[in-house]
């Protein structure tokens, strides 16, 4: 007779296959929507938003099911929540810093020009 554990794992395996199919479909969808332009004509914001939404859903499926985060211990959730706060702060701080200083645009352009100069042997 099949044990309770074996039955549970067989149900999990069906879930894994479902997630796998969903990930493949989402990959095709990501590529397909990249050929459509979203939002204002001269802006990429719409496309970036759509692509990031699909990628986040895919990442949530991988983390939730393959990495078992849908049913994990509290200590791991605490650890990840802390990481999430620092991750958001890291991204936000760099972006805020960029828009904070009017000179930073010129500094970046200068860096790029210097890089091109090196590439062209000047």
């Amino acid at each position: 007779m099949e044990t309770h554990d074996a039955a549970v794992f067989k149900r999990h395996i069906r879930q894994y296959i479902g997630v796998f199919v969903a990930l493949l479909v989402a990959t095709v969808l990501t590529v397909a929507v990249s050929y459509v332009h979203f939002g204002a004509e001269d802006s990429h914001v719409g496309n970036v938003t759509v692509a990031m939404i699909i990628a986040t859903v895919k990442a949530a499926l991988v983390a939730g099911f393959f990495m078992h985060l849908v049913a994990e211990k509290r200590s791991i959730y605490t650890m990840l929540a802390t990481t999430g706060v620092f991750f958001v702060a890291l991204i936000a701080l760099t972006v805020f810093a960029f828009y904070d200083s009017p000179g930073s645009h010129d500094a970046l352009k200068g860096g790029r020009v210097a890089t091109e100069a090196v590439a062209h042997g000047h």
Binding site: S75, L80, T83, S104, T115, A119
Partner: protein, 197 residues
Amino acid sequence: MDIPYTVQPREDTGLFNAKVGIWLFLASEVMLFGALFSSYILLRIGSPDWLYGEAKHLNIPIGTFNTAVLITSSITMVMAWASLKLRQFDKYKLYLGLTVLLGLVFMVVKGFEYRDKFQHGLLPATHTFYAIYFTLTGLHALHVLGGMAVNAYLWGPGSKMWRTEPERLTNRVEVSGLFWHFVDLVWIFLFPVLYLL
């Protein structure tokens, strides 16, 4: 002396120690890739001539293929762990072997992509886009290599543990799997960010 909590969960965390360890490591990895993603954002919004679409000379079908390869390797990885839980050692060997092979396929395809870029003179110094492209994909490829090395060990010599400490081997495979899935997860973001947007 035996290493404590390799199988039994600790009372305070409710987990075996290696699982706490790998999640802490993955948390540091989130910050590592986070720093590089924020660099990407900064470089992109600060560049007056960022490369879009065909100007990048990146092959989208090949990138899509490699994405599918990594996703497939994630399910074979989780199936390897589930096979050990179901006491099916032969299936474990099959699935983990496939995971390592799929990692190899990913690396070979990436190698061809790199060679193509170099042959066309597209180097990190060519453009800011290629600088961040090679940094992000190179660091990711190193992670794939690291994961392949651990999985190859668990498939080969490391699998002997099945005869003496099956629960401990199962936990090792789970921990290795968590790392492997994380590498897949990073690629899920890298693919659209570098190839499509």
